[in-house]
């Protein structure tokens, strides 16, 4: 039981950490909390489903397809919705992003109805070790999250594009003066984050069920992990996801399971009161 709690927390974290990193990255560049991530994840799940089940592609190929589709949708949302509104306040954009997630979900519901679906792969029994259980699929999800985290680290720290992303996130005007094409970097960031949301859609479809609300159900945990780690800090998001996963698992030892869903909200509230910049974020200097 005890080891199982840690396995459960680890799998939860592996599911939440990549989109929390992407959420943080998007926040860094676009400067508003984008709640459309729920809709993006749902798009990813249904794109992968379409490639995998009706079109019969194997899941790895369907996953790549879903990442491409979601990357494109997120870029399109940026160009059509958020870019024309960039002069608006962060609160306005946040509300618009909530509207966008509802629109995306409704579009999915229109074409796919609200039925539950699954990928065309068999469920597997777990490996057992020291009283805990884990499946091959879950190990793959964890491995993917680790690779993705490392990849993002290398990208941000050791490549020109990554440096440009950080420069745009820090100070877009200064970056522009230094010759960074902020528009191009922003577009690239949205596509990259979109691909990560697409991947999350596939993981969520594997772990839960493919239905129009699948992305929305993950939104609060993702948001909580990003706030906990320090919004705008992709590394903080990883730690945030791990701590959130653990907090959720430990909650049910002391509280009825029905309160688990509130853990994310409580963490958001506590951190916004006590340490608004999160664990890794830097405090904003108000001038």
């Amino acid at each position: 039981m005890n080891l199982q709690i840690f396995v459960n927390a680890l799998v939860n974290a592996a599911l939440i950490a990549p989109p929390a990193m992407a959420f943080s990255l998007l926040f860094g560049v676009l400067k508003f909390p984008n709640f459309a991530i729920g809709g993006y994840i749902t798009i990813g799940a249904f794109a992968a489903y379409t490639f995998n089940v009706p079109l019969g592609l194997p899941l790895p190929l369907a996953t790549i397809g879903a990442m491409a589709v979601t990357g494109f949708v997120v870029w399109l949302a940026h160009v059509w919705v958020f870019k024309p509104m960039q002069a608006q306040s962060a609160v306005t954009l946040l509300v618009v992003s909530i509207a966008l997630t509802l629109i995306l979900e409704s579009v999915v519901r229109l074409f796919f109805s609200a039925d539950v679906r699954g990928f065309d792969i068999p469920l597997e029994r777990p490996w057992k070790f020291w009283g805990a259980r884990i499946t091959k699929e879950q190990v793959q999800i964890i491995a993917c999250a680790v690779v993705l985290g490392t990849g993002l680290h290398v990208l941000l720290r050791h490549t020109r594009i990554g440096r440009a992303m950080r420069a745009v996130a820090d100070n877009p005007m200064l970056a522009a003066i230094r010759g960074v094409d902020a528009a191009k970097i922003t577009a690239l960031t949205t596509i990259l984050c979109g691909a990560i949301f697409g991947l999350t859609g596939v993981f969520a479809g594997l772990d839960l069920v493919i239905e129009p609300l699948v992305g929305w159900n993950l939104t609060i945990p993702i948001f909580a992990a990003a706030i906990l780690g320090g919004i705008g800090s992709p590394y903080g998001a990883i730690l945030g996801a791990l701590l959130l996963g653990l907090a959720e698992e430990l909650t049910i030892l002391v509280l009825p399971s029905t309160y688990k869903i509130a853990v994310g909200f409580v963490i958001i509230a506590i951190f916004l009161l006590v340490r608004p910049q999160g664990l890794f974020g830097t405090a904003e200097i108000k001038k």
Binding site: M1, Q4, I5, N8, V11, N12, L15, I16, S113, A114, D115, V116, R117, G118, P122, L123, E124, R125, P126, K128, R133, T135, E137, Q138, D207, L208, V209, I210, E211, L213, W216, N217, L218, I220, P221, E248, E249, I252, P256, S257, T258, K260, I261
Partner: protein
């Protein structure tokens, strides 16, 4: 004969016509009924059958000359198994179409959601919902439920699994009234001592069900009972399988429809599920199969479509009996045409109308069951069936007959 209309009588007739509201004029010519069914969403496997049944009964009665000398008009709306959509649809049915009854609501949240509007407008409701809140909220006695309340589901499933020799159970349920009271009924039958854990509830739309499942199977019970809906049960069952649980998984048949089987594949084999079913040996059920163009098999077909036939048949018989389309008159007549002994038993609308017109007292025995209501308008007794998924198909393993 020639008919002369002078200026004065023309004005008088015109004024009178304007005074009578247009809706009332529509009602004079036709009896309007609202069919509000779950054609998409969680109830999608059942909604279209209910709709088709409503339509068949109306078409047949119109072809035979209608009720009270008036044609019957059915307005069909899709509830999407969603209370918000349903409330908007009910608003339209009541205020625009002027219906005297709304029939066919399926999930309890939808039935309860549209209830305040129906009660305010004196509109009869006929549903297949199971929440114990339904008779409590029905202050005017206008609601008739064609499905047993959920504690009865829990008790029946409990009886059936006990008969299979299962002795220790782990229990968790989706956190809503339907599933909570089902769990209570189940515990009543199997007994507190058969439980290996303290029963607990989970919320729908969680980002994971891992810790709940870990807790549920911690003491390795012989069977787990998870009253649920299809979306959460699919995620919960995946987790049960992935955490290596090898005992019997028991739930309601509402959670294990074709969508579930498609999403889960071969891993669904072995799940045991139960729900109320039509009395397959009754004459009305056999008639229903013919009406719906189905072959007679020994298994239950269209569990909710049969209730749809019974709802509209009961409603129209009650209108004929009451001689009125006022909600409270219809409600009173529903008991008169369905419940009580020593009356002429009828199995379909044509027989019932003929008997009523001959001045006989009738008792309609339906395709979904014998249709007797308690004083709160809740149906008494339905057959109950337990099935097991084998090779992706439902195989009936036991049936409780009332």
């Amino acid at each position: 004969m020639t008919f002369h209309m002078n200026r004065r009588s023309f004005l008088a007739a015109g004024t009178a016509a304007l005074i009578v509201p247009s809706i009332l004029r529509a009602q004079e010519s036709e009896i309007t009924i609202g069919s509000l069914t779950p054609n998409t969403g969680g109830g999608a496997p059942f909604g279209p059958n209910i709709t088709a049944s409503h339509k068949r009964v109306v078409d047949a009665v119109n072809a035979a000359g209608g009720i009270l000398g008036r044609q019957v008009r059915l307005y069909q709306e899709n509830s999407e198994t969603n209370p918000e959509t349903a409330v908007r649809a009910a608003d339209k049915l009541i205020n625009v179409n002027g219906v005297c009854a709304i029939v066919g609501t399926f999930s309890s949240s939808v039935t309860l959601g549209v209830m305040p509007k129906c009660q305010a407008a004196n509109v009869v409701q006929m549903c297949t919902s199971s929440s114990s809140d339904i008779p409590v909220s029905d202050e005017k006695g206008l609601v008739f439920n064609f499905q047993p309340l959920s504690p009865i589901w829990g008790r029946a499933i409990g009886e059936l699994v006990k008969a299979r020799g299962l002795e220790s159970f782990g229990l968790m349920a989706l956190n809503n009234d339907f599933t909570r009271s089902m769990m209570d009924g189940f515990i009543e039958v199997v007994g507190q001592e058969a439980l290996v854990n303290e029963p607990f509830y989970y919320n729908a739309q969680q980002s994971s069900y891992r810790s709940e499942v870990t807790q549920l199977i911690e003491k390795n019970p012989q069977a787990v009972f998870v009253p649920s809906y299809i979306t959460d049960f699919t995620a919960v069952y995946k987790e049960l399988y992935r955490q290596g649980y090898e005992g019997t998984v028991i739930t309601t048949s509402l959670s294990t429809g074709q969508q579930f089987k498609d999403a889960i594949g071969d891993a669904a084999d072995g799940i045991v599920h139960g729900f109320p079913v039509p009395a397959i040996n009754s004459p009305a059920y056999k008639e229903y199969l013919k009406e719906a163009g189905l072959e007679e098999t020994n298994s239950v077909q269209h569990p909710f479509g049969t209730a749809g036939r019974d709802q509209l048949t009961t409603l129209l018989l009650a209108i004929e009996k009451a001689g009125s389309t006022a909600g409270s008159d219809i409600a009173k007549a529903v008991w008169e045409v369905t419940t009580g002994e020593g009356k002429t038993t009828v199995y379909n609308l044509a027989e019932g109308l003929a008997a009523l017109r001959e001045g006989k007292e009738i008792n309609y025995s339906g395709a979904s069951g014998s249709i007797e209501f308690d004083e709160e308008g809740m149906v008494l007794g339905r057959d109950f069936q337990l099935s097991e998924i084998r090779d992706g198909e439902d195989v009936v393993i036991e049936r409780l007959e009332y």
